[in-house]
Structure formats: C-alpha cells, structure tokens
C-alpha cells in the first residue's frame, strides 16, 4: 500500500499539500509543514512587490470555519528567494503567484521556476485590477490569456487555482485546459461577510472576506466532481479537508491530490500525519492499494 500520487508530471510521496496562504510565508514554516507529513507545500501567493495586506481584523472564526481578508500580505517575489531556498531544500514546493495581468503572472512564474518550485499555482481569485468587484478567475477568456502567457514562460507544470464564485467552475476549468494548463486546483474561498451586531459593522477591515473550513467542503467536492466530468487534466481538491474522510471525498470526486488550509489552525501541522494515517487505515480496511485506484471512482 502506498500514499504516492502524481499530479501530472509532479510525483508526491503523500497526497496532501499545504494550501496557499497557510504557513507558506517563510522558509522555516514551509520546511516544518513538509516535515510534518505534507506531500508538498504551496507558498503564500506572491506578487511583484512587498505587500502588508489589509489591516487587522483580517480574520475571524465562525461556527463552521473561518472568514479572512488578509489582503495577500507577502514580501514580494524578490525577497521570497530567501524563503524558497530553505523550503525547496525540505521538499516539493508549489509556488503560488498573483499578478495584475498576464505578463506579471508570467514574470512571477518564471521567478518561481528559478527558485526551484516544482510547479507554479496561479491564484486567479483576486479581485481584478480593472473590473471592480469581479474576480479575475470568473472570466474564461482572461483565464486563458494568463495561462497561455505563463505556459510560454516556464517549463514547470502550471496549475490554475479556481474560484467557486462563478456559475460554472467547469467552464473555467475547460479554459485552463484549452490554454495548456497542467492542472486545476479547486476551490479558493467563497465570497462571504461577517457582521458584528454589537458593533453595527462588518468585522473585517476589508468588509468582505473569503469563507474556508468545514463550511465549504461540500461545495469544493461538488466543484471537483464537476471538473472531473469536464476536463482531462489532473485536479487538486481543496476546501474544508480536516481528516482522511474529507480527503477521500475529494479523491473519489476526482482529485489526484488535495490541499489542507484551515484545518491547520485546530489540528496543527500534525493534521497531515493524522490524515495520512487515516488514509492508510481506510485503504487497508477497504482494500485499496494506491491513491490512483480511488481517484474519481464516485463518478462511476
């Protein structure tokens, strides 16, 4: 029995990765997550310039998850070289990047390749610079342009991370595939807001935020299932994974691997170890020898 899996060309010893934005800002934190049993770590989404993000409060707990509007704080691609050096020495690192346009995405991806990233993950879920309130990742044409530009700039695999805040995530997945993207990652956070009645105000400084955690799992599983019936490139599942059972939902929906974000808060880095053990136990009990045997079986 083995937990190995592959997302296209990328081979992973274990199917769970750290999701972008979680413990992925510094080299030592990324190295720790890999040591804790993650198959790979996705970096915080990195942009061209250093960014402090939104002021606090930029995060809040709700009954079934978290709502955050960090505002993409990051040290910028230049300085991130130092962090990548430490992280890459520890294991596979997926470089997440966000840009204002296709050229910037391509430049950032190129740098991530130089830094030794195993693949690049395009964060297509940030509010578009040009159209207010609209996310980059809801427009198939825009997505295509970005993926084409990045594919032209790097040799490492290009993954596109999709937003669920759209009528049909499968259409966006198709656009990625047509543009030559190597994998799709689904889902990013859901558009959300938390209001404090006591304060008469939204609690996040940015007012709006993104919902993550157990609350979004069923939405993510559905997105992966939809994508599996539509695209042929590998899918990475993310959203609300807290244990092996959750991870298996994604795998059986069609994900070749999965990412864990919010669960790191309560479960700590050890959450990966526990998920890995749970996967092995399940595979033993139900007679599976490999992850690949389980991918997409719920579609049969």
């Amino acid at each position: 029995m083995t937990l190995e899996t592959s997302v296209g060309r990328i081979e992973l010893e274990r199917p769970g990765m750290v999701a972008s934005g979680i413990m992925g800002e510094t080299g030592p934190s990324m190295a720790r997550m890999i040591a804790s049993g993650a198959g790979a770590v996705v970096t915080k989404s990195i942009g061209a310039e250093p960014k402090a993000g939104y002021p606090n409060p930029c995060f809040t707990e709700i009954k079934s998850g978290y709502v955050n509007a960090m505002g993409l704080p990051n040290p910028g691609i230049e300085l991130f070289a130092d962090e990548m050096r430490i992280a890459v020495a520890a294991g596979p690192v997926i470089g997440s990047v966000y840009g204002a346009d296709a050229d910037e995405f391509a430049m950032l991806a190129g740098r991530m390749e130089d830094y030794g990233a195993a693949a690049v993950e395009l964060n297509l879920s940030c509010p578009h610079a040009k159209g207010y309130g609209m996310e980059l990742g809801t427009d198939p044409e825009g997505v295509k342009q970005i993926v084409v530009a990045v594919k032209g700039a790097v040799d490492i695999p290009v993954w596109a991370k999709l937003t669920p805040n759209t009528r049909s995530i499968a259409d966006i997945g198709l656009a990625v595939q047509e543009a030559g993207g190597d994998a799709v990652v689904a889902i990013n956070t859901l558009k959300a807001m938390v209001i404090s009645p006591e304060m008469r105000k939204p609690v996040l400084s940015n007012k709006f935020g993104g919902l993550s955690g157990p609350a979004v799992r069923a939405v993510g599983v559905r997105a992966v299932y939809d994508l599996y019936t539509t695209v042929d490139i590998p899918i990475v599942g993310v959203g609300g994974v807290t244990d092996a059972h959750d991870a298996l939902q994604y795998i059986m929906a069609g994900a070749a691997a999965f990412q864990v974000g919010s669960a790191v808060a309560k479960g700590g880095p050890d959450v990966f170890d526990e998920i890995n053990k749970g996967l092995e136990r399940f595979m033993m009990d139900y007679g599976y020898k490999s992850i690949s045997e389980m991918i997409g079986v719920a579609n049969e």
């Binding site: 704080p73 990051n74 400084s205």
Partner: protein, 254 residues
C-alpha cells in the same frame, strides 16, 4: 464561542496604562491572550491579565490602536477572539521565579496568582511600574528594579534576577517583557542552569495558527507560543535577533 464582552471596570495602572475588565465566559490559562478589537482600531493581541469569569486586559498606550482602547469606557462593548496560545506550563513542586518587564507584567500576573511565586517587576522608572499592588498580594516575595533607580533595585531586571538567584534556589524562570530583556534573561538561565518559560511577541493577524505571519523560526508564536520553554528557545535563531514585518520580511531588531 461568544466574541463580545461589555466593559465592567477600568483601572488606571500608570500614566500610560489601563486595565479593562469584562465578563467573558471563555476558559483561559495563565499566559493566554485574546485578539481585541473595537471599530476604529486594528485588532491587536492582548494578554489576559485576569483569567477568571471576570477577565481583563492591561493596555499600554503606545500607538493608534492601544490609544483607541484607552478611550473606551464602562458599558462599551469589546470584541474578543480567543483565548489563544499555549500559556505557561505550571507544575506543582517546581519553584518558580517570575519576572515581568514593563507591560509584560500583565501576562505573568495570573501566574503569580496561581503559584504565589517570588516575583521581580522591572520598569524604566518608578512611574512605569504597573500591577505592583496585585502582584504583591499574591507573590511570596516581590522585588522591583528600575533602570534609573527611582524605586527598588537600581538596574535592570536581569541583574536583579541574577542577584536573587544567588540568594535563593529556583527551578524555573517565568518571564514576559521586552525581547531584549528576555534574551538576556534566557542567557542568564543558561549560565545558571535554570529552566525557563518566556512569552514572546510577533506581529499577529489570524492569531489562530493559520496564516504563518507570526513565525519565529518555524514556530507560530500565536499557537505554538506565545510561551516557549528553554528547549524551544534554544533552537531559535531569530530570538533576540530579528522579526518579521507585516509583509513577512525579516527585519533585525534595532
């Protein structure tokens, strides 16, 4: 998980420091903190200086957000997330020496209350000493150090600690205060072969162990800390040396 508490009492501790009391029905351990917020300020981490059913934070006014907290009055509502963090690991039969530097006394006050340990309160001047009366009520023995000698021992808390460790036998030093003080205190503990637990500070956003912005080496100050033991501290390359800014850039201590 109730996130709101009405302010029931406010005590002026010093010219720049106030204790804000409220009833908050969450269980807390000594050394834990909360993320505190009202509209018009950034949400910031605050140690719980009382941890019973009535809890408190003790706020030193050093900038915009702490200034906003100083403007609150009885009856106002405070938003609190937490309690977060590991807290101090207190064991029976261990002889503790508690050292609080400046506003750091807020964090160790519940330890003094729970253990009755000997205590050193360090401050720049007489005017900067806070929570002495409360600490005095619970501590077996209590000493003060001021940098300018305006009260108690003339010198810093680390010097006073070395002195007291000559006079008495302690097993473990528990401390919170400026990182420079903590760093030298840690060195002193190494010299003297004492165990220690120290509460550190880094810039916090989520407070819940998720975003990774409060890292000191590979440790999350908000979740693995803020209290770290000697072994953890000994493995840190950044302790006393550097910290991360809000963008995640490494900056050396000035």
């Amino acid at each position: 998980m109730s996130n709101y508490a009405r302010i029931t009492g406010i005590t002026v501790e010093a010219y720049d420091t106030k204790t804000i009391e409220f009833q908050w029905d969450e269980k807390a351990r000594p050394g834990q903190f909360a993320m505190a917020w009202v509209p018009g300020m950034e949400e910031i981490p605050m140690s719980l200086s009382k941890i019973g059913r009535i809890k408190s934070i003790t706020v030193k006014n050093i900038g915009e957000s702490t200034n906003r907290l100083h403007q609150l009055t009885i009856g106002d509502t405070l938003r609190l997330r937490g309690p977060y963090g590991s807290g101090y690991d207190l064991k029976k039969g261990v002889k503790y020496l508690v050292v609080g530097g400046g506003i750091g006394v807020a964090s160790v006050l519940p330890v003094i209350k729970e253990t009755g340990a000997d205590t050193i309160i360090g401050a720049r001047t007489d005017k900067d000493i806070i929570l002495y009366d409360q600490a005095h009520r619970y501590a077996s023995d209590i000493w003060i150090s001021t940098d300018d000698g305006s009260r108690g021992f003339h010198g810093n808390a680390v010097e006073l600690m070395r002195e007291k460790c000559d006079e008495n036998r302690y097993d473990c030093v528990i401390a919170c205060g400026p990182e420079a003080m903590l760093y030298h205190l840690y060195k002193a503990c190494e010299d003297l072969g004492l165990d220690c637990q120290m509460s550190l500070e880094r810039h916090m956003k989520c407070g819940a162990g998720l975003c990774g912005c409060c890292m000191i080496d590979d440790q999350r100050v908000c979740k693995d800390g803020p209290v770290f033991n000697k072994e953890q501290l000994s493995g840190m390359t950044e302790f006393g040396v550097s910290k991360r800014d809000t963008c995640g850039r490494l900056v050396k201590f000035g």
